[in-house]
């Protein structure tokens, strides 16, 4: 795997994401130039729930496990973003992020990202869309879970009877 991406490669990666679908390719390169490329070894804790939020991460390759109170809430794969997506500095991440394999990410500071949104409001639209999609997915998961719980027999009951 390549260790370092060029600005253009980073821009091409960004353009494939919903977040940046609305920005032009050259603007994506400008945004890419703000990103820091980071590699994490398997099992690395990227941040903890109580850490003050300062960054947003985009996974280029690998998988991240998001945990809350020791329970895995989601697995974040390539092309997905994580971190403090509320873009609230001085807030807390609110969950632990840990790699499960070698993981390659782009790291943006929240301040840079917010300022970039000021410059390119179209990015905010992409971001709202991406978050809305994620919310929809989460709602669907919750609904599925609810259905599964309803359909499953009560504890101790013979499912064949």
């Amino acid at each position: 795997m390549k260790e370092t991406l060029t600005t253009i490669e980073k821009a091409l990666f960004l353009k494939e994401l919903e977040f940046f679908s609305q920005v032009g390719i050259e603007q994506a390169a400008e945004i890419a130039a703000l990103a820091e490329e980071v590699h994490f070894e398997p099992g690395h804790v990227i941040f903890q729930a109580s850490d003050p939020s300062a960054h947003v991460f985009l996974v280029i390759e690998g998988n991240i496990i998001a945990e809350k109170d020791g329970i895995v809430t989601t697995v974040i794969g390539a092309g997905k973003g994580f971190g403090d997506l509320t873009l609230t500095p001085e807030g807390l991440y609110g969950f632990d992020a840990r790699t499960v394999e070698h993981t390659h990410v782009l790291r943006f500071s929240i301040d840079d990202l917010v300022e970039t949104m000021h410059e390119h409001p179209e990015m905010a639209v992409g971001m709202v869309r991406a978050l809305a999609l994620r919310l929809r997915e989460a709602s669907q998961q919750l609904a599925d879970l609810g259905r599964q719980l309803q359909d499953s027999p009560p504890c101790g009951e013979d499912p064949s009877s």
Partner: protein, 907 residues
């Protein structure tokens, strides 16, 4: 052969069939009408005296109006082609009927009835035909095609006349009606095939809701009607003058008159057809319909002036009549059809029928009355009659001038309507989506997000934001409440005063701080509150008090204030440093106290830096400028630095201009400077924007133009020198053509990640350059209309909307600007030819395109081209990649060239 003729006449292969059908249809209509008109005159004059004619003219005006209204109502909800076909059948059958009637009965009534019917149906048929043409061809196409289609009518007139002379006497005038009727019935099938069903030209049954308002309530229709009314009266007066001169000159000799009229009509028709085929298209394209339309009345004014200066003669009267009649059937006829294009489709058909059938006839009736009155009052003096024609020609020229101004306005209105209509059917514009999202985000409980939305709305929808200021006083985020108060601090704001006292009790110190500043500025009892707060353990409260201290102390107590400021600065807390930065903003200019700001401009804490920048902008000391300019290149401080520098106004314009023009200054910094000058917005700021030498940085180029647009929008008195703007325009057009050539090349290549990147980048550049061209035009012409034109042409709009936009540009732009813009307005295949002939830009193949891009000066496109070479591993181009690695190359180019070279060496 056919191809050569079509090309010479400006007809494109896809238009040939339609033009041919319209040409023959027009030919048939006019041939038939000429035959029936000859019959009409012959049977009328055989049974009635000529003195009856003025009364017939008046009756004809009313009859035509009645028939056109009835037919209009009957065919209102019908497709145009169907209406025309039905009219052809009706008129054909009626002609047969009158033919039979004349054979069966020789009384005095049938000739009068036929005279009236002939006068009405001819105009209505021709009017419907031209309405069909105006629906089928858009204004752009009409410029090329009307000449040819109009020639069909002239040819029809010639053939009709020749047939009448050849067989009229042999078969009798009444029998010619069978021939005229048969011609009309024969072309009925042609009508339905004029436009191929399912093509983009197909006319819907009802293209727009029928406008039921009285026609003359529309100002533009009134102007058009006035123009045709005055023109019609002038033509009738000229005709009368010509006939009187002919009668006097020939001494009433019928044979001599007939011979003269024979020559006259031959020359008239031959001249008309030549003018129509050879000159109409060219003149319309070159000078536009409005200028061509003015030729006829202008020529008449010149001619009638001559007629007044010289003794009356048949030659002069013939010349004037020939000019009028010749232009009416050729150039002017084509140009006048354009007058109806900007009307909504529902109104266009009604207006056309009204003008052709009613106004035209009424003008003849009015001329008849004028002549009767003139003869009764003045007598038969030719010179006095010439004077009357001169006056009417002048009046017609004036009506033309007023109409042309109304035409441009109507085009603009029509364009606006079409663009908006088209936009409503497409997805909403990005800005509207952003504003909508921002309003949702404003309700967020996350302060940062809500503040972001607040700032966005301040720029993009200030009116919408102001409407929400009341509810924002209860926003859960203190920062938002504080910003809302700050916005209310403008004493002129209508919402300000009722809220002040409640705000002082807000739970947030930040809100109280903003409110106290406002309160202190307005009321006298603030001092007591301030002193209590200065001792508070609450940082925000102390900050508010410090602000009060700094702002209210006199010059003598400056050392004490400075000591208090130092204690805040030394406390180590960023909140205290922010308090100092904020407090200094409230102090009238004091170099002693404000010197402390310089260190805060470089503070490690971003919020402190931002506050210091804002204060620098409020104080506007010159020594802060060199510290503020570099802060423009940092994302986090950019906006604050921009506002601060703009606050200096004209005092800093020269310095900003120096940075902007200096190519050695970092491009990231230079890119921000146009916005500063735009915010200053003065003539001096505009001059500095024009002083910048040509740059190839696309972002800077666009921002320079955007800044100029912003200044013009805010201050219409600012002047942008036409020569400088035109030079820049020419460069942009050349660049646009070059980009267009590159796009053509890469569209043909197989898809890959690298090819898509390069093609996408080229298309983005093309779009930006296109927008920039229109932005520059907006500096010279009404910006709003130019913007509408841009929206219509930028894509996603219908064929008619695009054509309307082109017509607007053609009509509005000066010839020299129009010439510059020709490559943009032409079809893609013509652009390639123009690119080579005007700018020497040839088509590229893959390699020559890459060479041109890599050796060019646009860093982003250079990088994309280098990426393509490395991605595809085109080793033959390794030297080209090495050549891009020079020391003057941008970091992006160097990075990509190094990557590309590494891949080439790997392979």
């Amino acid at each position: 052969m056919l191809e050569v003729v079509s090309r010479r006449l400006g007809i494109r292969p896809t238009e040939r069939r339609m033009v041919a059908r319209l040409f023959w249809l027009h030919f048939a209509l006019i041939t038939s009408y000429t035959l029936s008109r000859a019959t009409r005159d012959a049977v009328f004059l055989a049974t009635h005296r000529a003195q009856l004619l003025p009364y017939i003219f008046i009756a004809l005006a009313f009859f035509t109006a009645l028939v056109s209204v009835l037919l209009g109502r009957a065919s209102r909800q019908q497709q145009l082609q169907r209406s025309l076909a039905q009219m052809l059948v009706l008129c054909g059958a009626t002609l047969f009927g009158f033919g039979l009637l004349f054979h069966l009965q020789r009384g005095p009534v049938p000739p009068i009835a036929f005279y009236l019917w002939n006068g009405a149906y001819g105009l209505i048929l021709v009017s419907l035909f031209w309405a069909l043409v105006s629906e089928a061809a858009d204004p752009r196409e009409a410029r090329r095609l009307l000449g040819v289609i109009g020639a069909g009518g002239i040819l029809g007139g010639m053939v009709g006349g020749a047939v009448t002379s050849a067989i009229g006497a042999a078969i009798g005038p009444e029998s010619m009606l069978y021939l005229a009727g048969a011609i009309l019935l024969a072309v009925v099938p042609l009508v339905s095939r004029v436009l191929d069903a399912g093509s983009s030209r197909a006319i819907p049954v009802v293209s727009e809701p029928v406008d039921e308002r009285p026609l003359l309530r529309d100002l533009y229709v009134r102007r058009v009607a006035l123009f045709f009314l005055v023109g019609g009266v002038t033509a009738s007066l000229l005709d009368y003058q010509f006939k009187v001169a002919l009668q006097v000159s020939s001494g009433g000799d019928r044979m001599q008159m007939a011979r003269f009229l024979g020559y006259y009509y031959t020359v008239l028709n031959a001249g008309g057809i030549l003018l129509q085929l050879l000159a109409a298209g060219y003149l319309l394209r070159r000078f536009g319909a409005s200028n061509v339309s003015g030729l006829l009345p202008t020529g008449l004014v010149v001619g009638t002036t001559l007629a007044l200066l010289r003794p009356p003669s048949l030659l002069l009267a013939t010349g004037l009549r020939m000019w009028d009649a010749g232009m009416r059937v050729s150039l002017a006829k084509s140009a006048w059809e354009f007058l109806f294009f900007p009307l909504p489709s529902g109104l266009r058909r009604r207006a056309k029928t009204f003008v052709d059938a009613v106004v035209d006839r009424f003008s003849e009736a009015l001329a008849g009355l004028l002549i009767l009155g003139f003869v009764a009052v003045v007598g038969t003096s030719p010179r006095a009659f010439s004077l009357m024609i001169f006056l009417f020609s002048g009046l017609w020229m004036w009506a033309n001038w007023r109409l042309q101004r109304a035409y441009v306005r109507q085009l603009s209105t029509s364009l606006r309507r079409l663009v908006v209509d088209d936009a409503e059917t497409a997805e909403g514009p990005a800005e509207a989506q952003i504003i909508q999202e921002a309003h949702h985000m404003l309700a967020s409980t996350f302060e940062r997000r809500a503040l972001y939305a607040f700032e966005l709305l301040e720029r993009m929808d200030p009116v919408g934001l102001d409407r929400r200021l009341g509810e924002l006083q209860d926003h859960p985020a203190a920062g938002v409440r504080a910003r809302a108060v700050g916005r209310l601090a403008d004493p002129a704001h209508p919402l300000a005063s009722p809220l002040l006292r409640n705000i002082l009790h807000d739970s947030s110190p930040a809100v109280r701080d903003a409110a106290i500043q406002l309160y202190a500025a307005r009321y006298g009892d603030a001092q007591t509150q301030m002193e209590e707060m200065l001792e508070s353990s609450n940082a925000a409260a102390r900050a508010a008090a410090l602000t009060h201290l700094v702002s209210r102390s006199d010059a003598g107590s400056e050392p004490a204030v400075a000591a208090r400021l130092d204690s805040f600065l030394e406390s180590g807390a960023a909140s205290d440093r922010r308090a100092v930065a904020q407090a200094l903003a409230k102090r009238p200019r004091s170099p002693f106290l404000h010197a402390k700001l310089l260190q805060l401009l470089g503070d490690a804490d971003l919020d402190v830096r931002r506050d210091a920048i804002a204060t620098a902008g409020a104080v506007r000391l010159r020594e802060f400028v060199p510290a503020l300019v570099p802060l423009l290149s940092q994302t986090a401080t950019r906006e604050a630095a921009r506002s601060a520098l703009a606050a200096y106004g004209n005092r800093v314009v020269g310095t900003i201009g120096d940075y902007l023009a200096d190519a050695s200054v970092a491009i990231a910094m230079r890119r921000e400077l146009p916005r500063v000058l735009a915010e200053i917005g003065t003539q001096e700021a505009a001059n500095e924007l024009l002083r910048v030498p040509f740059t190839t940085d696309s972002v800077l180029l666009t921002r320079l133009v955007k800044a100029q647009n912003k200044i013009r929008r805010r201050n219409s008195k600012v002047v942008f020198p036409r020569v400088a703007v035109r030079e820049a325009l020419q460069r942009d057009i050349e660049q646009w053509l070059r980009l267009h050539m590159h796009v053509e090349t890469w569209e043909r290549e197989d898809r890959s990640r690298a090819r898509d990147l390069l093609l996408g980048s080229l298309q983005e550049r093309l779009e930006v350059t296109f927008g920039r061209i229109f932005r520059r035009l907006g500096l010279l012409y009404p910006a709003e209309e130019i913007f509408l034109g841009y929206r219509a042409l930028a894509g996603g709009q219908s064929r008619r909307t695009r054509a309307q936009a082109l017509e607007y540009l053609d009509t509005t732009l000066l010839p020299e600007d129009r010439r510059l813009l020709v490559p943009l307005l032409e079809e893609p295949d013509r652009r390639l030819v123009l690119a080579e002939s005007l700018y020497g830009i040839r088509s590229f193949d893959r390699v020559s395109s890459l060479v041109d891009l890599v050796r060019g000066t646009d860093a982003w496109l250079q990088a994309c081209a280098l990426f393509v070479i490395g991605f595809a591993r085109w080793e033959d181009l390794a030297d080209l990649v090495r050549g891009a690695l020079g020391p003057e190359a941008s970091p992006l180019v160097q990075e990509t060239a190094t990557w590309s070279l590494a891949r080439l060496e790997e392979s």
